[in-house]
């Protein structure tokens, strides 16, 4: 991968339906927007018109949730060609999806499920990422997911698995700081150790989000403010990876746009004053 392909976009937020009207009308200050790819892989109508307008005023990146890169089903070429068409139309700064599987047997769980961390899975996923990159004609980003189960057959730590896949597939990493925190709680590992082990040259974007505390586990619900521990991890990550583009995710109980913009501004502030844990 060539890092110069990934421009320093700054601090962005997700483009979500409740904010369409105000963004199209006022074009508020924001460095960039991340869009859920599948929401715009439709034939026509308002979402595409909104995205055309947003794209004319801001940089965007496309973030998928259904590539199912770790599934044992064949890659969905219809989906990938539709994604490629959307990429050509809207020219995002980059395209990302998750290091996970979402379905099998032709069915879709509409969720992001973890993989067993083995050399065999690394080989399986690497081959598929290379295929996707060939079809999309670009380097993609893969994101670490939150998880609630781990597999007895795993032989690698999650960070070793993520690093091996990214290195061997020659792709970039979208590092979700909240997902690391959630999974660290759910699986009893040190989140700092995770961040310190990921290859610095491959991380080109951060995600920040809130989660919900269910007592016995944390849920990556994207419906709360970012907690202090995740902010602290973010500052640590900035020290390790630099001031790379950061995206605030908020998908449920979505607040006013101004609230999201304030969180993005807070990320910018912390980016300038980060310190290692």
């Amino acid at each position: 991968m060539d890092r110069s392909d990934f421009v320093p976009l700054g601090f962005g937020v997700g483009l979500r339906r409740p904010h369409y009207a105000s963004i199209v009308e006022a074009h508020p200050p924001m460095d960039w927007f991340e869009v859920i790819s599948e929401n715009f892989m439709v034939e026509g109508g308002r979402p595409l018109q909104v995205l055309e307008d947003v794209r004319a005023h801001y940089p965007i990146v496309m973030h998928g949730v259904s590539q199912s890169i770790g599934s044992t089903d064949p890659l969905n070429l219809t989906y990938l060609y539709a994604l490629r068409a959307a990429v050509r139309r809207f020219e995002p700064a980059w395209v990302s999806d998750h290091l996970c599987w979402s379905g099998v047997g032709g069915h879709n769980l509409h969720d992001l499920l973890p993989l067993p961390y083995t050399e065999e899975t690394v080989r399986h996923v690497v081959g598929r990422i290379r295929q996707v990159q060939d079809i999309l004609e670009r380097t993609i980003l893969i994101e670490n997911v939150s998880s609630y189960i781990a597999f007895r057959c795993s032989r690698l730590d999650e960070w070793e698995f993520l690093s091996a896949v990214a290195q061997e597939a020659d792709c970039a990493i979208l590092l979700d700081i909240n997902n690391i925190f959630v999974s660290a709680f759910n699986h009893h590992f040190d989140p700092v150790r995770y961040i310190d082990a990921v290859p610095a040259g491959r991380v080109v974007q951060f995600h920040l989000a809130g989660h919900s505390d269910h007592g016995t586990y944390l849920l990556d619900s994207h419906d709360h403010p970012i907690c202090p521990q995740v902010w602290a991890l973010y500052e640590h990550a900035v020290c390790r990876f630099g001031r790379i583009p950061t995206l605030i995710e908020w998908d449920n109980n979505i607040p006013e746009f101004e609230v999201l913009a304030a969180v993005a501004a807070e990320a910018r502030r912390r980016c300038g004053s980060g310190h290692r844990l």
């Binding site: 009308e25 034939e43 109508g45 018109q49 259904s66 044992t72 189960i149 586990y217």
Partner: protein
């Protein structure tokens, strides 16, 4: 266990008929040989799988509730949840976008016991699905009044008209528009009248509208939806009309269709509007 077998097994457990409940206890089939709990006392392997089972069901329940608000309002939350539970067993999502998860809900409802208590419910769901389909239907140039006026009169009989891709006609035996409107406006709904009342659903300026169609206009639009010459459309309207002034009648219909933007531009007619402008966002 190889990756395929592992994914098949997890898929089965997550989508089990009773979801999280089936994922609890011994029936999970995943513990302790597959799922590693790291000796965690907080959550068993089955409970961990149950988190995914809950997420699967409730994510789709929320999504379908947003796409079928009137169906949800008529059935009530508990019945709607039971409906979705049964629906997902018969029609599990198979497409990358969750937008299509409810594609077959109306078909499923037509043979569901709820259709005995609420005989209009399947058609109501079909109408709600049509609204969503029209919202995302393909963009295309629409035929405008000025463009039509520019066509020389002698060319009108052969002029081909076709409905815009973002137009659907839903044939129903109930006046469902009233239910849909009541739910949209947060009003109390009442059982619709049993009456032949097809509904036109269309998109204009990126917003979706619907209205009931009288028989004459419905029959004419069905012909237009397949693509027909102006002469054929006029003959059909004249044959079905009680009104004797056919010219005035056809003029009113065409004027309304053009005003609503439901006729697609054709090669024979210059385009006046290349696409819906973004307004009313």
């Amino acid at each position: 266990m190889n990756l395929r077998a592992l994914q098949d097994l997890l898929y089965q457990r997550i989508t089990a008929p009773h979801g999280a409940a089936d994922a609890q206890g011994d029936r999970c089939g995943l513990s302790p040989s597959v799922v590693d709990t790291h000796g965690d006392e907080r959550l068993s392997a089955a409970e961990r799988v149950g988190i995914y089972a809950d997420a699967y069901f409730f994510r789709l329940l929320d999504c379908l509730g947003e796409e079928f608000p009137a169906t949800l309002a008529v059935l009530g939350p508990d019945n709607f949840a039971a409906l979705v539970k049964g629906y997902l067993l018969v029609y599990p999502p198979a497409e990358p976008s969750i937008l299509y998860a409810g594609r077959y809900l109306a078909d499923f409802l037509s043979n569901h016991p709820f259709a005995e208590r609420w005989p209009f419910i399947a058609e109501l769901a079909r109408l709600e699905r049509a609204v969503l389909d029209v919202f995302h239907a393909a963009d295309a140039p629409v035929l405008g009044v000025e463009a039509l006026r520019a066509v020389p009169p002698e060319e009108w009989p052969a002029l081909k008209l076709r409905t815009h891709p973002a137009v659907k006609i839903v044939h129903t035996e109930w006046r469902l528009g009233d239910v849909l409107q009541a739910v949209e406006q947060g009003r109390k709904w009442s059982d619709p009248e049993h009456q032949d009342a097809s509904v036109l659903v269309w998109r204009q300026h990126a917003l979706v509208y619907y209205r009931s169609l009288e028989r004459l206009e419905r029959d004419a639009l069905v012909i237009v939806s397949k693509g027909a010459s102006f002469a054929v459309i006029c003959d059909a309207v004249a044959a079905g009309a009680e009104e004797t002034n056919h010219v005035a009648l056809i003029g009113r219909l065409i004027a309304r269709w053009l005003a609503d933007g439901i006729i697609a531009a054709t090669d024979a007619v210059p385009v006046t509007t290349m696409r819906d402008p973004l307004c009313g966002a």
